[in-house]
Point group: C2
């Protein structure tokens, strides 16, 4: 069983890395991009367990370690093998 | 229009950050996690354009800057507003 977690900055939080990458793409001649936001994509491989338990483990991991509650939001999905 | 890009290490490439986070979760008493892989989640806000053009811009951005072709793979999806 796998958990796929997407962590991104909250609206309104400045993302300097995203801004830098946006400028770089622009200076490379890639047009059409208004804004770039960079977050984290985390995959957890979980031991065999129920989907409900997998959700609980993932939620706890995000709340206690993976995401910064002050500046970031997270969402995740559980994928069965 | 938005492009959501997921970049992760290729199979077989060591992910020391993921290993460290895995150990941390373990030592916090969160059980049931076998492996952690950490990648990037990038959102591009695109100017109004066709879906086909949006795909081309995103693919080019990934190939030329966002992903390291030696160690990483990427996938993406285009979301219309």
């Amino acid at each position: 069983m796998k958990a796929k977690i997407y962590i991104s900055y909250k609206e309104g939080i400045l993302d300097p890395q995203g801004k830098t990458v946006g400028s770089a793409l622009d200076s490379m001649g890639i047009d059409g991009i208004e804004d770039v936001r960079i977050g984290k994509y985390i995959e957890l491989s979980l031991k065999k367990t129920s989907k409900q338990e997998a959700k609980a483990i993932t939620e706890e991991s995000c709340r206690k370690l993976l995401a910064n509650p002050n500046t970031e939001t997270f969402k995740f999905e559980i994928e069965e093998d």
